[in-house]
Amino acid sequence: MNTTPNAGLSHPLVVAYLDDLERALSSADQQERVDTLASVREHLTDALAGDAEPTTKQVRAVLDELGSVEQIAAAATPAVATPAVANPAAATPSSPLPASTLPASTAPSSTAPAETKQERAWVAPALLAASIVSLVIPVFGALMAIGCIVTAVVLLRTGAPRRNFLHGSIAVSIVALIINAVLVLGSLALFTARSEVSTVSGGPVPSIASYAPAP
């Protein structure tokens, strides 16, 4: 949720501070980076809300109380580099909070990003398989192929693993769409041709028996 634009946030010192903070948090856990940037903006909005045009002195005082961007970045958990770590807190000894203080019941949520990535590893091969199946199913295969393309594009944009499978799925799905389009157009053309023959002759096509030579 965004806050209403605030005069204090457009002060050059605040703009520079927020830019520096974003850079300083570049190697922090993604969720913490997003949350921290949003929260610091809210903090500044609140702290500078009383003045329509805060003076540089007031802005400096608020920024001094917030602390340096390096101090804030040091308080954030570094991003987990290796996937599927059982306990990221244990893998980040520089974390200001000891791992032992984390309640056991909260462990699953703290490992969510790594686990999510690992869990999604099977999605790309499954998507490729679905694309191949869509090749041999007429008409409904086209719907499947469209679904596969959309899913693959979304997964590619969210940084899912096994990108080769996703690219393959898109390619196979496009082929399935082309095959289905050819089938549908071919059927329509055939149907149209038959209708035209019926219209021209004014009735049903005579049977072969009617051309049989007279005895």
Partner: protein, 112 residues
């Protein structure tokens, strides 16, 4: 205060700050600046900005949750409040802290 005392205090704060944040939320929800000011006034937080990565972790751990509420003096504010797990974690800390603190005090007094 000399630098070695500062270093000790920094380490001690790191160990307990999480629970001090939970304790600040025990009575009622609070928004970021309010919490930061309260902790800074209690000399538990030297840089108010360092509160926010901690709040993000507490939320990820399910110990606090946040909701947006309208403000009479500006844009909506994100209010933090304790969850059931947060109340349990705070109670466990409080139960452990008192005997621990007594033990540390006792050994410091005994040490010549």
């Amino acid at each position: 205060m000399d630098s070695s005392a500062d270093a000790v205090l920094t380490q001690l704060r790191k160990g307990v700050l999480e629970y001090c944040v939970l304790a600040c939320l025990r009575q009622r929800p609070a928004y970021g600046l309010e919490l930061a000011s309260q902790l800074a006034d209690a000399r538990l937080l030297t840089s108010e900005g360092t509160l926010y990565p901690l709040l993000s972790r507490l939320r990820k751990q399910g110990l606090v949750e946040s909701t947006w509420q309208e403000s009479t003096s500006g844009p909506p504010r994100r209010y933090y409040q304790l969850t059931g797990d947060g109340i349990t974690a705070l109670a466990a800390f409080a139960e452990t802290w008192r005997p621990f603190s007594d033990d540390v005090s006792a050994i410091l007094e005994d040490t010549p």
